[in-house]
Symmetry: C2
Subunit: 131 residues, 2 copies
Amino acid sequence: MYELPQDITQEKPDVFRKKCPARYLLSRVSGKWSMLIVDALHNKNLRNGELMRIIEGISQKMLTQTLRELEEIQLVKRHDMQTVPPHVEYELTELGKSLREKICAMDRWIEENMLELIANNPSIQLKRNKT
Amino acid sequence: MYELPQDITQEKPDVFRKKCPARYLLSRVSGKWSMLIVDALHNKNLRNGELMRIIEGISQKMLTQTLRELEEIQLVKRHDMQTVPPHVEYELTELGKSLREKICAMDRWIEENMLELIANNPSIQLKRNKT
């Protein structure tokens, strides 16, 4: 668990500082799984199985763990409909929606520049030449 | 090493697809260390020791490894001055500078919303109440 520095309100938030809460938050929201989950949740609540289908390759364990972490910093809200069989949906909070804009900008940049990044990558080129 | 799908030029880049190169690239550039290195490199070339000082808490091993990964997808350029003692500098490429805008937007969002995210975080609140 993250330990909050005592002088929290007196310092300028700074992701470069090891003990700044901003660094802790960066480590929570960065990483492909967090970014893909936040990116996937837009306009529509999604269920566990829907997220699994959209985010190809994520394991159930990683999905559950990352959703819990995003819930902890209240970027994602969990709705348990209290039904039998269970029906649980996930939704971005207002903060989550605001962050999603930044994450989407990065994801779409990667997609738009993919061919150029790959063209420049000697290790990927090597694989391509071999096929 | 990433294995390039054969139908690479025929499909729409998509970070949600497990075998899309965009997913591979996302996993390379997401993560706090990549993001902090790209964020730190702006306008000015930086040496290894300077990066270590700016990015508090990064280990030499992680810095070296992440710089090499960013070099591989040509977001970062390494300049070896071929001097004795050795003098090596790192610089963002044009693609790296373009990506940096997106990464900075995310880092600055986290800093700007830090207090709200912390206020909402019960696990951090708990720690604060205890001190």
